[in-house]
Symmetry: C2
Subunit: 182 residues, 2 copies
């Protein structure tokens, strides 16, 4: 567990835009939960907006909808077993923090806890619920970000369906071909 | 250029869920354009829905909005120079197919052409424009998919900002830990 430091929320895309599987932690009515999620996208730099399709079949859906908050945690590739298992058990009957030996961290801006073992945590508040009823699509504002100081580019997990992931992490610098770098 | 074959639209997540940079091709009023895009998410299996934040500052935004169609093309890691350059020139003054030596393929369901050099092409029709005005967020239905037969898991590009990409492609099978595989 590398020490995390404050990170600019407008740069959250560095970790979320590549499309990793993330672990979403939530708190509602005194209980905490975690779910895995792969259907998400950065939507804006400032405010720092991030959208996610959270199926209503997940226990977390109601917890996040009612509390209006969650934390997006970025697991690294070495956590692949935990990530798989979290996605294959039910938060209504399982305390996933306890079951998988994960450590809660106190958040600064939301009630939901972060996950200490993850590389980064992004605290989120529900910002636009226009598509929640029709498509289970939540738009959040990332209000606080904490990222481990090392490594600069962790190996991450990207789900491809069928119980398989691909990993990403090898950096290809292309700045010389960019006229304006965003 | 590997031969592409018809692919089930409900399985588009295999290529798009990992979060690669994609090349969006569009056709409107007799001209064709290409843009790079990294802000997108799978939203549903059936119908096969895919959402993308297409900034109104891009020439493609209006072309896609007016035509209601586009093709999502998946470039492989060896195309990193072309991907970078396409993202750094303007479609209003540049014919990007000609400039970068890309070959158009005829689409089956939409007017916009695909890009032969890409690993896969997903033909899209605008399905839900609720968030187009407010957030430039388009929801498309993928109506036709064509994927190269080999390799099964191409190396893909994932943008992290600052002119750099990370690559993904190494498969980690975890099916034994999944109780229900989706």
């Amino acid at each position: 567990m590398s020490k995390k430091v404050d990170f600019p929320v407008s740069d959250a895309r560095r970790y979320l835009e590549p499309g990793p599987v993330v672990l979403i932690s939530s708190r509602w009515k005194g209980s905490d939960n975690i779910m895995t999620l792969g259907w998400h996208s950065i939507l804006e730099f400032t405010p720092s907006l991030w959208g996610a399709m959270i199926s209503s079949g997940n226990h977390s859906h109601r917890m996040i909808r009612e509390s209006g908050e969650c934390v997006v945690n970025l697991p690294t590739a070495d956590m692949v077993d935990i990530v798989s298992l979290i996605g294959n058990c039910d938060g209504e009957s399982t305390d996933k923090f306890e079951e998988f030996g994960l450590t809660k961290t106190a958040s600064a801006e939301v009630g939901a806890p972060g996950i200490a073992q993850c590389h980064a945590s992004f605290e989120c508040k529900l910002y636009d619920d226009t598509l929640v009823d029709s498509r289970n699509f939540f738009i959040f504002e990332i209000v606080k970000a904490d990222v481990a100081e090392r490594p600069a580019h962790p190996e991450t997990l990207h789900y491809i369906g069928g119980g398989s992931f691909v990993t990403a992490g090898k950096v290809v610098p292309q700045k010389s071909l960019f006229t304006k770098v965003t």
